[in-house]
């Protein structure tokens, strides 16, 4: 892993190596033991002690192991092993109808991050390849703005090919429900998530929910990016990474939890604001609110699993969708044609 990738304008908040004390070293040791060489012990450990794993992930995956662990928990490592040579095929031999769209957005993805800054540099080239490969892998979805931020975040921690398969694992649903609906025509999953989130705000923060209604604020005005890019678009990297640790292991629920925890931590201030100032505040949370060590525990304390399922059903009933997830099977082992 190249060190330069991680140095970023947003990284100021993380501990410098000099503060990497004994406790931190012991933590990394524990993690190494849990993973085994190259991930050999991981599955065994997860099966035996799922709650230990969950607890440790919630505390944050050590940065030096993040790339590997992400591949293990997302199921992308298995996809990679099941599909040798496929990525290369997609990148080198296939052409995509989205090539120009992708190029247009390459320099507009994490433009202030050193890894992606250099025009046609290694960062931009990898990003292009991953996005192009995905647009060929699923030609129906192709390339959609927002994907670049997912791929970009992954590329800070793994190779192109690994990042590609992790993207596949997420969108096609290797471990959790597929998320390709975020990018399919009509953005059906974005619409569903926004509906669920709006209801949850009303239920968990009723006063704020009423205030939003009165001010005619709806979640599409501030939360679309949260879901479409899983907080990678505009949130500080140290926070985004901690969210991704949990997101990859536990699923999309954490995005709702973080969203609610953020609103909750700024509740009293938000209550005082009218429409325009509200929109501004909802896009620019104060630094204190975005401290992972307080935000994440608050998020975990919000219990949503059951309600999220009910709200999904309610949304689908309303929109005449009969559990489309069963209809569309993920095509995980599709070979390049």
């Amino acid at each position: 892993m190249e060190e330069k990738k991680r140095t970023d304008e947003f990284e100021a908040g993380t501990a410098p190596p000099s503060r990497l004390n004994n406790r931190e070293e012991r933590r990394v040791q524990k993690w190494r033991k849990m993973i085994g060489t190259g991930g050999s012990d991981w599955k065994y450990y997860v099966r035996r002690k799922p709650n230990v794993v969950k607890r440790r992930i919630r505390k944050g995956i050590p940065d030096c192991l993040r790339g590997l662990v992400w591949q293990l928990i997302s199921g992308s490592r298995d996809l990679l092993l099941m599909n040798p040579g496929v990525y290369e095929q997609l990148v080198i031999y296939e052409t995509s109808a989205s090539e120009l769209d992708i190029i247009r957005d390459i320099s507009r993805t994490f433009p202030s991050h050193v890894f992606f800054q250099q025009r046609h540099g290694p960062g931009q080239r990898s990003l292009y390849n991953v996005l192009k490969a995905y647009s060929v892998y699923d030609r129906d979805v192709g390339y959609v703005q927002g994907m670049g931020f997912l791929a970009g975040l992954l590329l800070l921690y793994m190779s192109e090919e690994d990042a590609f398969w992790l993207l596949v694992a997420l969108l096609k649903g290797a471990v959790h429900a597929p998320m390709e609906g975020l990018y399919q025509a009509g953005l059906p999953l974005v619409q569903q998530y926004l509906f669920q989130f709006e209801q949850l705000v009303k239920e968990h923060l009723p006063k704020l929910g009423r205030h939003f209604d009165e001010e005619m604020i709806n979640p599409s005005m501030y939360a679309s990016q949260w879901f479409i890019t899983v907080f990678s678009y505009s949130f500080p990297f140290p926070l985004a990474l901690r969210i991704w640790d949990v997101f990859l292991y536990e699923g999309v629920k954490i995005v709702f939890q973080i969203g609610l925890a953020l609103l909750s931590s700024c509740h009293d201030n938000l209550m005082k604001l009218s429409f325009e100032k509200l929109i501004h505040a909802l896009r620019n949370f104060p630094d204190e609110a975005m401290n992972p060590d307080s935000l994440l525990p608050n998020a975990f304390s919000i219990k949503l699993s059951k309600r999220l399922i009910e709200l999904e059903k309610q949304y689908n009933d309303r929109n005449g969708v009969s559990s489309h997830k069963q209809v569309k099977q993920p095509r995980l082992s599709r070979k390049a044609s």
Binding site: D105, S107, F149, T229
Partner: protein, 216 residues
């Protein structure tokens, strides 16, 4: 909006910024509202929002501008924002033919989702890149005339015609709105106010009243 009570403007106009991805919408918005331009800004995901208050014919007008993601797929979310918009700022890139050809699709999009009276300003952006131009000023003028749109070429980079374009569209909206207000006033005064002897506004509206009597 709910801040009706403490508003510091006479009119609030909602305007949508539309056009293909990459034509410069977000930079036009940041240039107009904050006088900022960035060669490496992020692509817009979903919608963004900014406001600016300015004087139009002696009235304080607040422009509330919604910037939208340009990619076709995003219209599922962005078209909801056309509702209530009185103006649309439709942008193409003078160095990309396709973005000009797609103007027709954007107009159709407006016809389907926006108010039929919406005022549309066509802007050919990136006029600073004249050496890369592929859309001539002439053909854009012809199209604007045919479609009944105002038209200007702009450069968000060099800050050319950005203010002017917004002023133009806001003025046009203002005229329509004040004509409507006037019509409402006339309707009120015709229908019996005079009989009651009220002379509110008679002094400045009597001449207009005569004019509109003849023209309708």
């Amino acid at each position: 909006m709910a801040n009706r009570l403490d508003h510091d403007y006479d009119y609030l106009f909602k305007i949508v910024l539309i056009g293909d991805s990459g034509v410069g919408k977000s930079n036009i918005l940041s240039r107009f509202t904050r006088n900022e331009f960035s060669l490496d800004s992020k692509s817009t995901i979903g919608v963004e929002f900014a406001t600016k208050t300015l004087q139009v014919e002696g009235k304080t007008v607040k422009a509330q501008i919604w910037d939208t993601a340009g990619q076709e797929r995003y219209r599922a979310i962005t078209s909801a924002y056309y509702r209530g918009a009185v103006g649309a700022f439709l942008v193409y890139d003078i160095t990309k033919k396709q973005t000009f050809e797609n103007v027709q699709r954007w107009l159709r999009e407006l016809r389907d989702h926006a108010d039929s009276n919406i005022v549309v300003m066509l802007a050919g952006n990136k006029s600073d890149l004249n050496h890369l131009r592929v859309v001539s000023t002439e053909e854009a003028k012809v199209m604007a005339e045919k479609e009944g749109l105002s038209f200007l070429e702009t450069s968000a980079l060099e800050s050319v015609n950005i203010d002017k374009a917004f002023h133009t569209i806001l003025k046009e909206i203002f005229h329509i709105v004040s004509k409507k207000a006037l019509a409402a006033q006339e309707a009120a005064s015709m229908s019996g106010r005079r009989i009651q002897g009220t002379t509110i506004n008679v002094a400045d509206s009597s001449t207009n009243t005569n004019k509109s009597c003849c023209s309708t």
